[in-house]
Amino acid sequence: MARRPARKPSSKGSSAKRKKPKRHPLRRRVLLYGLPLLLIVVAGYVVFLDYTIRSQFEGRRWELPARVYARPLELYPGMALRTGDLNHELKMLRYRPVRTATEPGSYSRTGELYHIVTRAFTFWDGKEPSHDIRVRIGAGAVSTLEDARSGKHLSLLRFDPALIASIYPSHNEDRILVKLSDVPPILIKGLIAVEDRQFYSHHGINPRAIARALWANLRAGHTVQGGSTLTQQLIKNYFLSNKRTLWRKANEAAMALLLELHYDKQQILQAYLNEVYLGQDGRRSIHGVGLASQFYFQRPVQELGLSRSALLISLVRGPSYYDPRRHPKRALARRNLVLDVMAGQGVISAAQAQAAKRRPLGVTADAPSGISPYPAFLDLVRRQLRRDYREQDLTSEGLQIFTTLDPTVQRDAERGLVQQLRQLERDHRMKRDKLQSAMIFTRIESGEVVAVVGGRDPRFAGFNRALDGVRQVGSLIKPAMYLTALSQPQRYTLATLLEDEPFQVRNADGSVWAPHNYDKTFRGKVPLYQALAKSLNVPTARLGMTLGIPNVIDTLHKLGITREISPYPSMLLGAVSLSPLEVAQMYQTLAGGGFRTPLRSIRAVLNADGKPLGRYPLTVKKVASGSSVYLLDTALEKVTEEGTGKDVHAFLPADITVAGKTGTTDDLRDSWFAGFTDNLLGVVWVGTDDNQSSQLTGSTGALRIWGRVMQLLRPTSLQLTPPGDIVNAWIDPASGRATEQGCKGAVQLPFIKGSVPAAGAPCTSKGLNWIQRLFR
């Protein structure tokens, strides 16, 4: 058998020390007393062996890596879903396209009609059985969902979740535990037929097999055949030593006998199936049929057919010699031999063997790597886990970690980011690969993080800019100021006129801070909503100074920024450094109507048995008046209607309402966009790692990535729910006074009851409108 790296430091070394004392066959008296003594020593040794093997067997604790799963796809009639999304999901789950789906984990498709047999899965909140379903997709949504057998309509079902990562212990041992009942009977019968025909009748060792092997080996002059029973092989696997000494063999045989004395065949067989060494992936050793099945075929062991089962059985004799990826010919020959043996033993019919022999090896081209394709998201998960679990538990306790990652959003986020960065570099004639970027997408009401990209190479597990790229946020900070103002409806409304006149502040150290607008002009007076929509610096800075810097900082903290913020006037225009994750938390609260929901990447953690260890429940906290936030969000909609965020409609249809804000920092170092639609919030940063000018504003840079990703995701329009105390009124923006619909320049704005400005704006009807008014 091929060997694997030694693994378990233990007391086994002591067996050498306990060797029997040397016999001195000099005197009879010595013999007289020595013989009983010897018997005692031997008996003691047997007891010791018995103890060792039983501890090993019962106390066997495989170090199981934590398994990390994406969110499961929930399917229900009416849900938005495109065929491309469903195909992507099925591919991630490694469902097999077949002509007629009968087995779990397979599907067939005719145009927009799918027939899928899902896999059963145990979630934190219960078991989801396997479903045999027909799904029809029409106009980008699930139009029919029914049980394929009964034809009954189904209201909801859950797929199994895609495995997105495993967190390995330092020595990289990996395993997927299986129960005997999970393993196809054909695999078990075949294994016994090939490796240990008398398994069910022997008592641990098989003298006839040993004699046969000895004879064969003697004739050949070297080892050609092994006589080990499965029990002996299991013991060999437990106490990994490569030495083929007689002493070792004797020990093994004794332990095999002892093991059989204590445990029944089924128990031993199950242990064997989980223990057997079947491959090597770099430093990761592949143990047990559960993992081997994933490693070679990328499917659960339950879904192995005859030919694949036979291949696994072949590997028992030498996983590296018969490695089906490196030595496919050898592996094929060995597999076919195994099939012949199985037929010869009557496990299968000759016809079955013939059919199976015609099949290819069925091994996937690449071994599923132990490395996650989503390093940036996983980084977030690990940080959250480390707060609650010890590193050791994460890598050895077989935890199942259910995350919030949405593979579809993640895919579109990566695509959009990669495409647009190249496009930006081309459009602005930059050096290739000059720009860097990061993004994070969340679900608005639940605070679930659905996608994280940490840099322009989404697979690279290096610096995670989404979490650690702490950069100045520029105008992204402004909503905090405007919310502070709008929380005082008696003083500020969306129509309040703010001064846009030269302005300077003397800092405590004597230096002078004199903000100016991006276009270096002053407009005199501007209504509050326009100052935000057009991201004017001067009126904002004035407003912030009037409100008081500590009050603005207080609002930022309420919105979810926990970092300490220095109370310098320049912070009012965004001289505050935050990570995209922090920005997302802040905007989450704005998108959530003033309810702060901590961003989460984990839904639940289960132990290896499926018992919930930790839940990460949805929590909310009201931190701002819903009405004030409603006003602010309306202003953020104006950003994309008429302000600095207009260009989102280069990507999204005009009837899709979006709220958002651009951010740009000095010398165009950082380009930001944060925005949300009905159910998705996204924050994008673009810049350079060495903090040089990116030559991009929020609008020309980050917005274009955000827009492209949203375009791929096809979001639904934002629909803010007006709280009960909101009224709409027509306003003349020039004077900030109430006017009438139809008057020139009149805009309709929401107000908190009692704060609608007084009328009094002169009404010049616009253009031909007076004719229309005549006829009203």
């Binding site: 019962e58 106390g59 604790r61 229900y76 639940s446 639940a604 290896a608 709280p723 009960g724």
Partner: protein
């Protein structure tokens, strides 16, 4: 199964097993499956536990005549029913998990937020119940019965937190909305 299962330390468990051989024998099969999971009987639940005064929290007065969710999809209706069953079976954590699933499908469904508030209240998590009921109100639009019921939950949650005056104010709002709607 592991009599000394609390150890996560793999090197120490073998020694300790001496004391537990007899019992453990019977449990080999199970232990094999359990192997690797070092959780113990008393594995602390990591989810925050909110303790209320001690007595099981009474649901807010008169369990509401289930306000039908406006145009809830069949999926949400099914989850709501499941959630109700779990709640009735004394499984509030499962009931909450099902409501969270429903909220992923209809994040702005005020009824779902209210149910979640209800479950939290039953679990003794009064502060969270109050927040969730407020959230439900923020999405309730003109549904005054729903709002009245939310204020009842808030009143109860405040009582549980010892805020008598706040509870009274909430109760008054509930009463006002309740009478207005009839």
């Amino acid at each position: 199964m592991y009599v000394k299962g609390t150890q996560l330390d793999t090197t120490s468990f073998q020694v300790r097993l001496t004391f537990s051989q007899v019992g453990a024998m019977l449990a080999v099969l199970g232990s094999l499956l359990l192997a690797g999971c070092a959780t113990t009987g008393g594995e602390p639940n990591r989810a925050p536990v909110y303790q209320s005064g001690g007595a099981p929290v009474a649901p807010a007065p008169e369990p509401q005549q289930n306000t039908p969710a406006p145009a809830a999809s069949p999926a949400v209706v099914a989850l709501l029913q499941d959630s109700q069953r779990q709640n009735d079976a004394g499984q509030p954590a499962r009931a909450a998990a099902l409501l969270e699933r429903a909220l992923r499908i209809e994040p702005r469904n005020a009824t779902l937020w209210q149910r979640l508030a209800d479950v939290r209240l039953r679990q003794g998590r009064a502060a969270q119940a109050e927040s969730l009921a407020l959230k439900s109100n923020s999405l309730a639009g003109t549904d005054t019965p729903l709002q009245a019921r939310n204020w009842q939950i808030i009143a109860q949650a405040r009582r549980d937190q010892g805020d008598v005056a706040g509870a009274r104010r909430a109760q008054q709002r509930a009463a006002k909305l309740g009478s207005g709607s009839r």
